[in-house]
Symmetry: C2
């Protein structure tokens, strides 16, 4: 087995439109990535970064749908054979944008997503990325039909301006975390590999009427920092154990 294939890869994706200094989700994903890399230490790692706010993925289009539906009619087509079905410049354009995103996800062992809540749900730019990686068949094993995300760890670091936790008046209005849980579960990620860390009340620092909530906001971010640190160490250690098993 070559080194490349066995060295775990972290794909780190940020989606907040706020700059690093002002974005709670960006601070927390950066902390996770730092801890994980440090914890991997001499055991090695691979790391990829994508900023969907700075470099958004184009919305899916009529061309995307047309090509996707046509590929789907051939059953589950292996990703490396989709290019063979490209029929015209429109198909080629769709696949040129889509393939690198799919390959990046398939090559990752950990998906780390930094996700602020915008209007009760995830950023539009994250949905556009989800639409791309969900190209028909791309996340399915062509042999078994099983979801190709089933071996990945998925870490969602969410931030929201208000409070949506259990018992909060706005609890039923959270379409951010439950949506991502639904999407990744539907794609075959087992519950024990799906990790959510959430910081709440992040707008307390700049909305005057929320000022009384600042100490709660600070507590929430501190708890989230501890949670991502522990999770990063735990996932890095799990990978070291797995590598040791393979090495026997």
């Amino acid at each position: 087995m070559n080194h490349e294939a066995t060295t775990p890869c972290l794909l780190h994706i940020d989606t907040s439109v706020s700059p690093p200094g002002e974005s709670v989700s960006r601070r927390l994903t950066a902390l996770f990535a730092d801890c994980w890399r440090r914890s991997r230490g001499a055991a090695g790692h691979r790391y990829r970064y994508r900023d969907l706010a700075a470099e958004p993925v184009p919305y899916v289009t009529a061309d995307y749908a047309r090509f996707g539906y046509r590929v789907e009619r051939h059953g589950t087509v292996p990703v490396d054979q989709v290019a063979g079905l490209v029929g015209d410049a429109a198909d080629a354009g769709v696949w040129r944008v889509t393939l690198p995103l799919v390959e990046e996800v398939l090559a990752a062992d950990i998906l780390l997503l930094g996700v602020p809540m915008y209007n009760l749900t995830v950023p539009a730019a994250l949905l556009a990325w989800i639409d791309r990686i969900s190209f028909p068949g791309a996340l399915l094993d062509p042999e078994t039909g099983a979801g190709r995300l089933r071996d990945k760890q998925v870490v969602v670091v969410s931030a929201r301006g208000g409070g949506y936790g259990p018992g909060a008046p706005r609890e039923g209005l959270d379409f951010q975390v439950p949506y991502l849980r639904g999407y990744f579960t539907d794609r075959g990620v087992p519950e024990e590999q799906l990790h959510f860390v959430t910081a709440e009340l992040t707008r307390a620092w700049d909305v005057p009427t929320m000022a009384p909530l600042r100490s709660l906001a600070a507590d929430s971010e501190a708890a989230a920092r501890q949670a991502v640190t522990e999770l990063a160490d735990r996932l890095a250690a799990g990978e070291r154990e797995e590598a040791a098993r393979y090495a026997v």
Copy 2:
């Protein structure tokens, strides 16, 4: 009162990337619009159309967030006074894209949204539009703080490839209709003014394994056609009554 202000306005928005002939949501919104206009008849109407797939609204950006947060610190700023807070070219660029979308919504009496389900939720392009119309303060009454959508009728025509209705195995995976219900309710639209019509199993026509579901899919679309027709007539009649009251 001038004619313009009292003639009801339908804002019709489509979001499907599929062309009109292949899109169930587009067929259904077109049917609603036709019925409503016919039912209005000599009573008159205004009509605006926007296709978010053909002409997508740009994703919100760091500039959008920066300007929005700054406006928000002034309290609820009336939409026509936001331009006075524009400080630089970046702010101006944000507001040039955002203002027409906000004004279009505020001018409408009925919002008609055609919404396919993509990856369990709404199209990214619809979210980007929602992010724009939700510019801080834009949908609030500066005097009372009440939601300015509270007098509107909102008609969501949704289509989804599979079955997500009550009792379906995938019921818990619908983040399309519940999300839009949550968003508009949170914006002050009363339940009796929030109308959902849904056609299911739309992929039965092109996914071979779903072929046995075609008669159910046809039934679902037929029921949705009847529901939008009745709803369009009912809303057109309600508006005629209201106009008659004002005319007394």
